[in-house]
């Protein structure tokens, strides 16, 4: 204890009590859950499932929208890599994560929601995004929130890219796409439909108009050729993408009587189910590997088979048969699976003498797609791969031409929606850094690194609970219409399904405690700067200061009454206000060097931007323990500790020296 008489007789001053013991409880999560790590877009899966259990659907949706601006779309067509990594699979089946996401997205649709206000433009720079698919839309959403001007150019008369042109409406109703695109345009994004960049408006012209950065997200809309004899000789070939685009634009003409779809991806299954709905008598799918290797979603294959699609596994086209210039059928050969190839899948090997013929009048090849690069000028200098996709830096997504970025299917070749969303996020981050003239290479993220982190839970004594299945439209109703097949969970079903989540790790990271505490006692922070750099897979620490002294300044008033007898044996009393030692920043003196931020053991110091180009360190006094290291390291003397300011020390000096 401080010697009271010496300093306090002269004047009443506040006493301080150094507190250096730990008074912060941390709720620490060492690793992010495996579902979040598996998601290319890094959605906080466990957190929103936790919120659904609590019935907080709006909060769950808000949390999803932080990482994924298209929850309704992803909730329907996502390939859900999160479910494959779910730790519940060790007990029974994975949690229906995708369907739960769809549930909250649909829940919002049912009630009237206030439309979002346009976001205020902060910077003058404009960005052009070529292609309005999931990658382009996500990037536009991210950039408009950073205050840039964003214009999206779309060749087709409707927005959505492959979402609208490629995915049939029985899987993804058009209202959902329109609604989610509307949510993005409401923020101020301009979408120019029917404008083909390169033809209608050149890149040079756009640069003159003031566009500083370009994101090429044109997707992969050109089907690959089969390379079998007879392919170019007969009528009756429709490329899968063209077929789906025509149907999705409203052309519901029957393509033919008997249809063969070649391929095993989701678009092949989409084409076959669409053909059935248009009234074709028989639809075959020919795939060269077995069902296990088929890239399409399992549930899609099951539904297609239920609807009547006949799938020939382990079969490959050999020759197209024709009659009078029209397709009459296709000769196929049986295959067996050999050794695994570079992609890890077993390579199909033809079985000699097992040829068979399927009769058909329409053949829809759906083997793979490549980007349609007709929009580029002939003498362009973009570096392209041998599949006509853009070659980019794997971390920054920058092409070889400065200011041009590429992502989505145009960069990776045909891929999933959620990967495109992830690309959109990465490109938005790169464009932001590019326009701020920061080093692009400083982004230290590589997705493969992050994916290895996943949290593995030890399963012990978990009881299996049966997975909830959402209801489906009856087969009869399906075949005559393009009505949505998968129906939504009911509220009770959703909560029951969410309860199956094992909540790997101690905390679900829903951050509701932070939002809910009115006294600001719970804080969320990154324990490591690196985690923040990596971006969307951070670690969490929740700090719960329990010490009343650490309350916000206006709330902490602890008074102590001290009494003593003076020399004349008279009783003296003094009321003291106790105040902990904390450090504070003189904002006018701070030049934002960041030394204090590095040195602070308790992560109480953060650098906050005040205006363009100027950062100032800020000390969270409820975390600060007043150790004084930052005071010592501060080169400008901007940081001072309470009770140790020059004025206070002078007061102390004066009071002890003038005393007789």
């Amino acid at each position: 204890m401080y010697r009271l008489e010496t300093t306090l007789k002269k004047e009443k001053i506040k006493l301080f009590f150094p507190r250096l013991s730990s008074d912060v409880h941390t709720i620490s999560r060492l690793e992010p859950s495996s579902c979040r790590v598996a998601c290319p877009a890094g959605i906080q899966v466990k957190a929103y499932i936790g919120l659904i259990v609590a019935g907080k659907f709006q909060e769950a949706l808000d949390l999803i929208k932080k990482d994924n601006p298209l929850p309704g779309i992803c909730g329907r067509v996502c390939t859900h890599p999160c479910e494959s990594e779910c730790n519940r699979r060790k007990v029974d089946e994975s949690v229906a994560i995708c369907a739960l996401k769809r549930f909250v997205a649909d829940w919002e649709l049912k009630k009237s929601v206030k439309r979002a206000e346009p976001i205020a433009r902060i910077s003058d720079e404009k960005i052009a995004i070529v292609g309005s698919g999931p990658a382009g839309l996500t990037c536009a959403n991210d950039l408009i929130r950073l205050g840039y001007g964003v214009t999206v150019f779309e060749k087709l008369p409707f927005a959505g890219g492959m979402l609208t042109a490629g995915i049939p409406s029985y899987r993804l109703p058009r209202e959902i796409i329109n609604k989610e695109i509307e949510n993005i345009t409401d923020l101020g994004v301009e979408i120019r439909l029917g404008v083909k960049v390169g033809k209608d408006v050149g890149f040079d012209e756009l640069m003159e108009q003031g566009f500083k950065a370009f994101f090429i997200a044109v997707g992969a809309h050109q089907g690959l050729k089969l390379n079998v004899p007879g392919e170019n000789d007969y009528q009756g070939f429709i490329d899968c993408v063209d077929f789906l685009r025509n149907v999705n634009s409203g052309d519901h003409k029957k393509p033919g009587r008997k249809v063969i779809v070649i391929g095993g991806g989701n678009s092949a299954i989409d084409a076959s189910r669409t053909a059935l709905r248009l009234g074709c008598d028989e639809v075959f799918v020919v795939y060269r590997r077995s069902r296990k290797e088929m890239p399409a979603n399992v549930s899609e294959i099951e539904e297609a088979e239920k609807e009547g699609v006949k799938i020939h596994y382990l079969a490959a086209p050999v020759k197209i048969l024709g009659k009078k210039g029209k397709v009459a059928g296709m000769e196929c050969i049986k295959m067996r699976l050999g050794e695994p190839d570079e992609s890890g899948r077993r390579k199909p090997v033809p079985l000699e003498g097992s040829e068979f013929v399927i009769e058909a009048d329409v053949i829809i090849p759906s083997i793979s797609q490549k980007p349609d690069l007709s929009f580029l000028p002939k003498d362009h200098e973009f570096k392209l791969s041998k599949w006509d996709t853009f070659e980019v830096d794997p971390v920054t997504f920058a092409t070889n031409i400065q200011g041009f970025f590429a992502g989505g299917d145009a960069m990776s070749g045909p891929n999933t929606v959620v990967d495109a969303i992830a690309h959109g996020h990465f490109v938005a981050r790169s464009i932001n850094r590019y326009l701020k003239h920061k080093d692009l290479k400083k982004i230290t993220h590589s997705s493969s690194e992050v994916r290895e982190w996943g949290f593995r839970l030890e399963i012990e004594g978990e009881k299996p609970i049966e997975r909830n299945h959402f209801p489906k439209l009856s087969i009869e109703k399906r075949l005559n219409s393009f009505e949505e097949v998968d129906l939504c969970f009911t509220e009770e079903q959703a909560i029951a399904e969410a309860k199956r989540c094992l909540r790997c790790g101690p905390c679900v990271e829903c951050q509701e405690c932070v939002a809910g505490c009115s006294k600001r006692l719970v804080m969320l922070s990154f324990p490591h700067k690196e985690a923040q750099e990596i971006g969307r897979v951070p670690e969490f620490i929740l700090r719960v200061p329990t010490d009343p002294m650490k309350l916000p300044r206006d709330k902490r008033s602890e008074e102590v009454v001290i009494s003593w007898r003076d020399e004349e044996e008279k009783e003296n009393q003094l009321t003291l206000a106790l105040e902990p030692i904390t450090c504070f920043v003189d904002k006018d003196m701070c030049r934002g060097c960041g030394k204090c931020e590095k040195v602070c053991e308790y992560k109480a110091i953060t650098l906050k931007p005040v205006k363009e180009g100027l950062v100032v360190s800020e000390i969270d006094e409820s975390i600060c323990k007043g150790c004084g290291t930052c005071v010592a390291i501060c080169t400008t003397g901007a940081i001072k500790a309470r009770h140790f300011t020059d004025k206070r020390i002078e007061q102390m000096l004066e009071s002890c020296l003038n005393q007789e």
Binding site: T629, F644, L657
Partner: protein
């Protein structure tokens, strides 16, 4: 020794680092030496020449600063700062005509019994011999 000097009660200010052990012994030290005024700081690095001059200006006869030994500072470099500032202050007070003996920096741990007492006894004894600070005399004559 003159009459005046026998009555002389030196005003000694001590700046103490929170970590070097002076903080723990402070009550003892102060009670044994009533002339001794202790000002506790978090680190000896907080001391600067301006502060030392201020203390002399306000009438201190001697100033002693305590800090942790070389390389043992709680904040890594606080006592190094203190040593530098001490050097500057030494030359400054020399210019002002104040004896260098009136300023002292002790970088050591003081948790052992009697260690602090002996240091203080020695220092205060020294000040007693020299007499009041010239600055204090000027102030009092005014």
């Amino acid at each position: 020794m003159s009459e005046e000097k026998k009555d002389f009660k030196p005003k000694v200010v001590a700046f103490a680092c929170h970590w070097c052990g002076v903080g723990k012994n402070e009550i003892n030290a102060v009670e044994d030496f009533p002339d001794f005024k202790l000002i506790k700081l978090m680190c000896s690095g907080r001391i600067n020449s301006a502060l030392i001059l201020k203390a002399f200006e306000k009438g201190a006869d001697g100033i002693i600063a305590f800090g942790c030994p070389e390389g043992k500072c709680h904040y890594n470099f606080g006592n190094r700062n203190a040593a530098e500032e001490y050097k500057i202050a030494q030359s400054l007070i020399h210019l002002l005509g104040i004896e260098p003996k009136r300023l002292r920096l002790e970088l050591d741990f003081f948790s052992e019994d009697g260690k602090l007492d002996s240091v203080i006894k020695e220092f205060v004894g020294g000040i007693r011999k020299i007499g009041p600070s010239p600055l204090r005399l000027i102030n009092e004559n005014k």
